[in-house]
Symmetry: C2
């Protein structure tokens, strides 16, 4: 039973270390929400559409292929999670990606998906 006991001790140590590796709940929640926002095909399309140039709501709707209302709803959540930012010019509102991280996340995500 010596080996089994030893293994148990090792496991307990690893489990303890693993527990400490988990961040605080605020970070976890923010991280989860960020990925959740990226975890939707419509919003991903919007991200790709905005990758090169800023676009207004109507154009996004046309490119992505859904109603302007749906786009507006999605942009609001993307704005809240700081995936996109916007710029107003008269009655138009131009949206663009918020920062580089979004681009990085998507690029790495693609690398993961395209492997194998």
């Amino acid at each position: 039973m010596e080996q089994s006991t030893m293994t148990t001790v090792l496991r307990r140590e690893r489990a303890e270390a693993a527990g400490k590796a988990i961040p605080d709940s605020d970070t976890l929640r923010g991280l989860g929400e960020t990925f959740k926002v990226l975890g939707d095909v419509t919003r991903l399309k919007i991200c790709f559409a905005l990758a090169r140039h800023e676009l207004c709501v109507g154009d996004i709707a046309g490119v992505v292929g859904i109603s302007e209302s749906a786009v507006s709803h999605q942009l609001r959540t993307m704005k809240t999670m700081r995936l996109v930012k916007y710029r107003r010019e008269g009655k138009m509102t131009y949206y663009m990606l918020d920062d580089v991280h979004i681009d990085d996340l998507i690029r790495i995500g693609i690398r993961h998906v395209s492997e194998r």
Copy 2:
């Protein structure tokens, strides 16, 4: 109206380019599902727990603080999306992160969240 027409043409060109920047639907679906799997606090905790060492289901349940059944269900979806892989040893099953990308994604995600 000259300027307005010009702007419209510019916008149409940008919109057209934006449409081409959107990947095929298989890539989009895979990408979306990958992010969706990461978009859950429980699964993120599991990722952090597995970041250093492989762990068995019971230990993960203890560290994360949910039932073994819930862990098992989550691990299955994480396995399907290649977030984790496993190794059997007798009646134990040890789980670990599948590849480096997962670690990268989480690290960049944290950087995004912790900014501002």
